[in-house]
Point group: C3
Chain length 350, copies 3
Amino acid sequence: MRVHDIQAYLDRFFDRVELVGDGETEIGGPAKIESATEGQVSFVANEKYIRFIGSTGASLLIVGETAPVEKYSDRLTFLKVKDPYTAFVFVLQLFSSPRVVARPGVASTAVIGKNVTLGENLSIGDFAVIGDNCVIGDNTVVGAHSVLMEGVATGRDCLLFPGVFCYDGTVIGDRVTLHSGAVIGADGFGFAPQPDGSYIKIPQMGIVELEDDVEIGANSTVDRATMGSTVVEKGTKIDNLVQIGHNCRIGQSTVIASQAGISGSVTVGAHCMIGGQAGFAGHLSLADRTHIAARAGVTKSFSERGQAIGGFPAQPLRSQFRQEALVRNLGKMRERLDALEAELKTLRGD
Amino acid sequence: MRVHDIQAYLDRFFDRVELVGDGETEIGGPAKIESATEGQVSFVANEKYIRFIGSTGASLLIVGETAPVEKYSDRLTFLKVKDPYTAFVFVLQLFSSPRVVARPGVASTAVIGKNVTLGENLSIGDFAVIGDNCVIGDNTVVGAHSVLMEGVATGRDCLLFPGVFCYDGTVIGDRVTLHSGAVIGADGFGFAPQPDGSYIKIPQMGIVELEDDVEIGANSTVDRATMGSTVVEKGTKIDNLVQIGHNCRIGQSTVIASQAGISGSVTVGAHCMIGGQAGFAGHLSLADRTHIAARAGVTKSFSERGQAIGGFPAQPLRSQFRQEALVRNLGKMRERLDALEAELKTLRGD
Amino acid sequence: MRVHDIQAYLDRFFDRVELVGDGETEIGGPAKIESATEGQVSFVANEKYIRFIGSTGASLLIVGETAPVEKYSDRLTFLKVKDPYTAFVFVLQLFSSPRVVARPGVASTAVIGKNVTLGENLSIGDFAVIGDNCVIGDNTVVGAHSVLMEGVATGRDCLLFPGVFCYDGTVIGDRVTLHSGAVIGADGFGFAPQPDGSYIKIPQMGIVELEDDVEIGANSTVDRATMGSTVVEKGTKIDNLVQIGHNCRIGQSTVIASQAGISGSVTVGAHCMIGGQAGFAGHLSLADRTHIAARAGVTKSFSERGQAIGGFPAQPLRSQFRQEALVRNLGKMRERLDALEAELKTLRGD
């Protein structure tokens, strides 16, 4: 592929893609700027990587519109765009070979239940089990060994990697990606304590709904509601080993990093970011655009939009940082106390 | 179903179920009090939900024996019981449709090993693998894709959802529920460091025993003992993504919330509650009825029964709360120090 | 097996194995010293277990070279070695029956893709799926229900338990053990935020490489690199439910305990020990032989070799312990402040 081809491709996404250098240069693939070699394309989106421009082995760099690249243009070719990071993501997509998660069609070893509605152009892998009354949308790929229990519905263009388990009644939108080991719709954790100290199980009669463009990482779990639905809204991305409890509603375009745990009946707003290993008590709500720091322990609701929250118990980050600084300086406080006591002792004439 | 039918059903569990209103009212299903509509049953167990009685759309409410409901009885029907929460759980069970995790019988695609003892009335799903010398008790359901390695024994009335993995020798009691992705009996994490810095694996020769009425959540792991058994005692309920290390013994009717991690050789008493994301150092023991707060980091044993423990390093919650309050007020302590220093400076006549 | 046989076996690993007692004693298996019975072998590696020697029911004990055992030698037999703990591990191996994870050969229900290279003496279990262009080394065992997507290569003598999922392109060395539910090579968590608040997925084009002698626990996840490889180096052991983010490099002979989470692009040195539930921010590096305490939250790099680090934000353990002691004594600091204020009030003559 020539630089001109990449430029033409990026023209579909950006108002303006400016070429500096030789559009005929052949490009074979993408690489990181510090390890790129001849014939490769890389990018600079962050000022701290500008220092690599002089020494990179790449043949093409995607840079910002105002990047000072002219002095390198005899040796390197550049494409200038408004958002070089996103442009490079498109270049990655351009070079990524199509992934075969399952072959086109329904594998002969797959088991399809009764009254199943299969869309067009499906790929259903070996040993997949599609329960009775399921609906699978067009172009959806169900990897080997994935199990959809009774009455699961997926939209179109979904990608279920091998070994995904969806409990009965799960509803999945379009373009949803589920990674291996994800368990969608297992029973919420609800037991009623009895006078003798034992527990009886509270039936978990609800379902899980994953809206369009959701992605859920490997070995993550989203529990079904007791009644009604646990909902992950449109465009939300969830990393590996995350727990979403029953009756939660996670707002749209929210991002949840690995090993975070959200207790039951929590409502998270839209466009939130939740750091890794963060945890939530149950029955809380977070306003839109809240940022929860990694490892925060959220014990109450935060209703003001756009706050950054951290620590345990979690509080606005400014307070948290102030408190951490005070703790770090406790040794000095103790020295000041010692000095005051000594001085008073002198004043007393002891 | 009429209110009279629900009353008769609850009569099986409670000494006294009092009807206030119209026993002929038709009830189609359960719902939360704030979203219930005509023909639905809900409940009030907690005083803070009493305010919803006036506005609920439900036709039937299950309430406590002393709930002041008479003024609503022209419009709504009530069943009064001692424990309305548990009564509602029974109502949920009454209305929950039986779940088909696997069809009755042994699926033609399942693989059954040699010398396997199969109970009566089993359901074994597609592609399930039952290893040599396994025993499966009556009425047990093994979901599609579940694997029992060699010599696993389950009791009767167990429910293994699709994609459960039990390593060789696992012993499972009656009425045990295992959710998708649970891994029971994987090797404990034991390696002997060698002088050259490498490790040799310590064979994990023991097994896991899950006693009657245990439930284990999706993607949780319970490791086999090095020698002997890792034991989860009768009636204990474990949420998703929980780790139970090798050689642990978890007492009966204990509840462990999501993402908690229990290191090897820990003994947890009976009737304990362990919060989400709590962690334990190895070789500890907890007395019966200990409550461990969410995210606590338990670094030593607690031998007094019935304590509430939290923080990291974990301590009795009263001390923990006092310490948290002191930390929160550190800014004020520093101001007091500043004032004292200033005053002494004045006293000194600087 | 007689004590003489065990002595002869240990002679293969140790320079000197001294017998004290009766070499003809029959030994049937290993046990913990406190629960061992006649005909069993146990060990004492730690001084605090010496007190059990007088009361153990074992017939043979493996002890250190200088252990004072002579007074017990009329009743018990001893083997003295330099490292009794490792010697006992070898004894465990001696008595452990060979585990059948899959029967020799390729199960008739397994699906083998096109252009697959199969080594000698393989065991491939029921319903295993080996994708196109995979390579499986000699003597490797692939458990039932494990899935190798396209182009996965394993070395020789590997052991994949049932239900392991390796994404396309994963490269696995010799003698690697993967436990059930491990997901190797799922997409790294990378999304580019767009001006409208939505995200576009960054293709994860790299792979995962697991070097020789790596072991990965149940339900752990190792994500593929965006470009290039996520690498777990030779001899590293990873417990259950651990997350290794994309582009990480974990050094050799490092040990990572359960539920630890390592964010993307972290470099961990060789011979490190990482405690359970520890977490890492992205793009950090740790020097060789760093010890990270359980539940530590590592927010910056530590470049000095051999440090012990803990707390959140993590710092050298000595500072962390000092800080924890100061926090524990905050109540006393406040009392001292109170006393100072009272005294000054008196001095002022209020």
